[in-house]
Amino acid sequence: FFFQIRLRAVVRERPVPSTPPNLSPPPRALDWTSVDSSHQPPATEMEDPSEDPVERKRAGIKTYYTDVTPNNVGQLRCLNLNVFPVTYNDGFYKDVTNEQNKDVTKMVYVSDMLVGAICCRFEAGKDKLNRVYIMTFGVLKAYRHYGIGTGMIKHLISVVSKLQDIQDVYLHVQISNEKAIKFYQRYGFEIIAKKENYYRKIDPPHCYVLSRKPGPLESE
């Protein structure tokens, strides 16, 4: 008897536990320089660094990391709309599902709900080195102070430190966002430049460029 199973296997992808991703991807040939980042202002919304990480909320939270795929990218869009003051266009969401950026672009789930995401891309740097650019980095407001952002940045640093030919990890932060600057500085980022009138629609329009050399965290 032939009970044909005809339904296409569209099973809801469950987030997988955050194990270190499969590393040692080859250095990639990149063509990201053509992207004009000023049209898609990056943003960071996360921990309140005024609180020391040790004094985080007591309860531990169980998180799962998963890749961004064309099927679940809608959730990322929904998250970003709620976290950032700016909206990203369709091009951005096409980029994040790009296979190339899989290791440095992750969504974070708590009991089946998306609560945070880190989206990065590789860019060509000096001397055939690659740069990792953090496009967005955000956690839903209600889920902040649980170390989710810390987990994401640590994850990124550990992934990047195992790659070869990386020049640095860098990002833009609005100059008024002191919390974010302090947060990044805690993980070894330094201000290397200031860009005037980087943002178009938000005030103040200036931003700092923060950068961190590859390598594991000192504390660990």
Binding site: Q4, R12, Q75, V115, A142
Partner: protein, 876 residues
């Protein structure tokens, strides 16, 4: 007509004929056809060859020619078993089983001991549930060939199905005696002995069954069945000690199986007591014992969810509060969306609802402010996701209890908190659906779907919501996600996707695309036919593999399969479509109300005109039939031409497949154009009466159809049955019955209502009605004034809006006028408008009364009651 001599072939041709047979058996149809034609060149009237040619053509899908040749062969040689057999086979392939059985029986007249034919006959008989015939045929086969296991077993099954347990056991035992005693049982033998035991159980001899089970226990393969049945029998025979032991042993194997748990509870005498109303309560002593037992189980099996959940059933008060608190917390932490559905089963107990509500409300406010379940807990001991799930539960709870606005408020809060929580959107959509805001419900659900395109549940739900909102194209676009790229929507028929067909059919019905609606709804019926047809595969297979318990179970299941809700729902919808087609379509807009108004055009005609109309319809029907036949023939020719032209190329076979699929889908357009829609509806009603006689809706559908046909005795029968079922199940009589009783009483008084055939009632029928209605409880007496009778019904049942609606319809029918009719609904509206579906129906009815002022008053009142329901929004 050929002489007998002409039917005997010379030696050489006999050889060729054997080749024909062989080619057929080996499926070398082309070769067989050539051989047959070779014989026919010399002996054009040879019956058996003609028949064989027909059979081969049938296999080549040339149905029309096949029947012609088979018939020709049969007429040439009426005394040949081959010709009759072939004729039977062709009937069978067209699913005309009764005709096939007759043909086989004729074949057997001329060749009494042909095993092939006997076998084929027995298959058809079991398929048609002709148990007597089946038993007799199997007896003949057994006598002919008693060295085969399958023949013994089949004869035994035949007797079992007839209820002759003794004979069945006798045959099995005779057969068992021939077996080697020392052989280790294989699976088939084990199944046979277990089947034998099942027959003993069914014969009612529990002691013997138990004894037998103990005997075969060591050798039987299906241990769990043996243990469970043994314990069950011990329990029934009063040996609770042994039963307890048995159930404990079973629980060690599988501690989640509810029947093992209930078995153990019964063995220990820890069952609830039932009062006269059927409410069960646990005595204090029992509660204590059960609590001890299950607390022990919880320690023993850490992950046993039954041991955690069951105590919520028998405990109450503070004890229940403690346990349900303990039960819910981990589920909120984990995020179990189904928790509400799980606990909903306890909502029959008002006290428990209150306790759960109090607890969850406390959780909600504590989590919101301080990140903890209770004040006694440490601050921030829970993470924010817990809050979302508590909120989700509270919203489900409110929605279930009808506090729609509170539920929506909570959901908005939840969405603001965690906008990526898909379940919140799904619940929001469901809530909107329940207030009939289908458009918005679809939009919300589609938003949820787009958050996770790979979620099957969301895709399926979204299709249904789209159809409910009348968006057929959107639904088709989404449902295509389930298909392969090369498939068309027709493949859904092949997949028997009944949920889709039902929803789609109802959607088309609502949009008045009757043809499309019938296509989809009749497809559902077709699937059930196919499922029954699928039995054929099992008749020989199960007997050969000796999986007899499963086989008999399957046969019994198949007998009841058309009582399945998909079939019933589709059948009711088909009846409604036909009724709507029959009634004047413009009046049919009013849903249920349609049934009541009837076709004006028919009732206005004089008897003479009506006869003329009938004649015209008949003529049209005959013409349509002719056209249809011509069409079928043309199609067949076309298909054959196409086939001949393109040969057996792969592409054509694909196209042919798609074509064949298309042709197997019922043609709704043809059905919708049926000149006798009531006849078609009556056929469906008969199926319902056969398959769901205990469903009150069956008889309500019968009322609608038979009253329009003027079949008053059948109307009376349906009234009686509906009343009996209502009494037996302890529900109030459906108001539609009242309406039809009033109508029938009018007919008996020769005051024939609109929409009924205007002829005078046959005096014999009138006489029967008069005597029979005397026994019908609540039927209006001949002396009753029907208006008053209706008023007293309204007084008695005025607290539900659907009863008021039917009372209002009666008033309208009895000529009391629109305003009086409106009053029947309006009088106590404030107290009873909580039934949304009935309110909508009542509102739709009032729309037909043509009293705009009062309609507006009603609308405003209903809008106040159901502010979110679009049906009651003021027209722009």
């Amino acid at each position: 007509m050929a002489t007998k001599n002409a039917q005997e072939l010379p030696k050489r041709e006999q050889g060729v004929f054997k080749t024909v047979m062989k080619c057929y058996e080996q499926k070398q149809y082309k070769k067989g056809l050539r051989a047959a034609e070779q014989i026919l060149k010399r002996h054009p009237n040879h019956g058996e060859t003609l028949a064989m040619k027909g059979l081969i053509l049938n296999c080549l899908k040339k149905k029309v020619e096949a029947v012609a040749f088979a018939k020709k062969g049969l007429f040439a040689n009426l005394k040949s078993h081959v010709c009759w057999h072939v004729y039977g086979l062709i009937h069978r392939s067209e699913r005309r089983y009764a005709d096939a059985i007759k043909s086989y029986q004729n074949a057997l007249k001329y060749d009494k001991e042909n095993q092939l034919i006997l076998n084929d006959l027995s298959l058809l008989q079991i398929q048609m549930r002709e148990h007597n015939g089946f038993q007799e045929t199997r007896r003949k086969i057994l006598l002919l060939k008693s060295d085969k296991r399958i023949n013994w077993i089949a004869y035994a099954v035949g007797n079992h199905l007839l209820g002759d347990y003794k004979k069945c056991l006798h045959i099995l035992d005779t057969f068992i005696k021939t077996l080697d005693n020392d052989k280790v049982w294989d699976y088939q033998e084990s199944e046979m002995f277990l089947y034998r035991n099942q027959v003993i159980q069914e014969s009612g001899d529990k002691k013997e069954a138990l004894k037998d089970l103990e005997k075969i226990e060591a050798d039987a393969r299906d241990k769990q069945y043996v243990w469970y049945t043994k314990s069950k029998l011990q329990l029934e025979l009063g040996d609770s000690k042994a039963a307890e032991e048995g159930f404990r042993k079973l629980l060690d194997v599988n501690n989640e199986e509810a029947s093992f748990h209930t078995g153990l509870q019964q063995a220990l005498g820890l069952t609830p007591t039932e009062d006269a109303k059927g409410n069960s309560t646990y005595e204090e002593k029992t509660v204590k014992a059960l609590a001890d037992l299950y607390d022990g189980f919880r320690k023993k099996w850490k992950y046993c969810s039954y041991a955690k959940r069951f105590p919520l059933v028998f405990t109450s008060g503070e004890e229940f509060r403690k346990r349900v608190d303990e039960y819910m917390r981990p589920k909120f932490r984990k995020g179990v969306p189904s928790l509400f559905r799980d606990l909903k089963a306890l909502y029959g107990d008002k006290e428990k609802v209150k306790i759960v509500e109090e607890l969850v409300k406390t959780y909600y406010s504590n989590l919101k402010e301080h990140g903890r379940f209770m004040e006694s807990d440490e601050k921030d001991s829970e993470t924010p996701n817990v809050f979302v799930w508590v909120l989700y539960y509270l919203a489900s709870h409110n929605e279930h209890l009808g506090n729609v606005s509170r539920a929506l408020e909570l959901l908005e809060e939840g969405i603001a908190h965690t906008p990526t929580a898909i379940d919140l959107y799904v619940l929001k959509a469901r809530t909107l659906k329940h207030v009939r805001d289908f458009q918005q419900a679809y939009e919300v659900l589609n938003f949820a779907r787009e958050l996770d395109l790979a979620d099957r549940y969301l895709n399926t739900k979204c299709v249904r919501y789209a159809l409910r909102a009348g968006k057929v194209e959107d639904a088709q676009r989404i449902v295509k996600l389930f298909l392969r790229e090369t498939d068309t929507l027709d493949s859904l028929f092949e997949m028997q996707a009944m949920w889709y067909e039902l929803a789609c059919g109802l959607c088309h019905f609502k949009k008045k695309n009757y043809a499309e609606a019938l296509t989809k709804l009749l497809s559902v019926g077709k699937h059930f036919e196919d499922i029954q047809e699928d039995q054929f595969d099992f008749h020989t297979w199960c007997l050969r593999k000796t999986t007899l318990r499963a086989y008999v179970g399957m046969l019994r299941y198949q007998e009841e399969i058309c009582g399945h809700k998909f079939f019933t729902r589709a059948a009711h919808a088909v009846v409604n479509v036909y009724l709507t087609i029959y009634d004047k379509p413009s009046k049919a807009q009013n849903g249920d109300a349609a049934g009541m108004d009837g076709p004006d055009d028919l009732s206005k005609l004089t008897a003479k005109e009506r006869r003329a109309l009938k004649k015209r319809q008949k003529r049209a029907a005959a013409k349509a039939k002719k056209r249809e036949e011509a069409e079928a023939k043309r199609k067949e020719e076309e298909r054959e031409a196409a086939k001949a032209k393109e040969g057996t190329a792969n592409a054509t076979s694909e196209a042919a497949k798609a074509n064949a699929l298309k042709e197997s889908i019922p043609d709704g357009a043809k059905m919708a154009a049926d000149p006798d829609p009531l006849g078609a509806a009556a056929k469906m009603v008969k199926k319902l009466q056969l398959n769901s006689p205990k469903d009150i809706d069956t008889h309500l559908a019968a009322l609608e159809v038979y009253s329009r046909r003027g079949r008053y005795l059948l109307v009376l029968q349906a009234i009686k049955r509906a009343i009996r079922i209502a009494q037996e199940s302890g529900v109030t009589m459906p108001p539609a019955v009242h309406f039809h009783m009033v109508q029938l009483a009018r007919i008996m008084r020769n005051d024939i209502p609109k929409g009924f055939p205007q002829e005078k009632v046959n005096p014999i029928v009138a006489k029967i009605l008069e005597t029979e209605t005397k026994d019908v409880p609540g039927f209006p007496k001949a002396s009753d004034d029907l208006q008053k009778y209706n008023d007293s019904f309204l007084n008695k049942h005025g607290n539900t809006i659907s009863h008021c609606l039917y009372a209002a319809r009666c008033r309208m029918e009895l000529g009391a006028g629109a305003s009086a009719s409106f009053d029947a609904i309006w009088a106590k509206l404030g107290e009873k408008a909580s039934d949304l579906e009935a309110s909508v129906k009542a509102f739709e009815f009032v729309k037909t009364l043509n009293i705009p002022d009062k309609l507006e008053t009603l609308r405003a009142a209903l809008e106040k009651r159901h502010p979110l329901t679009p049906d009651f929004k003021a027209p722009k």
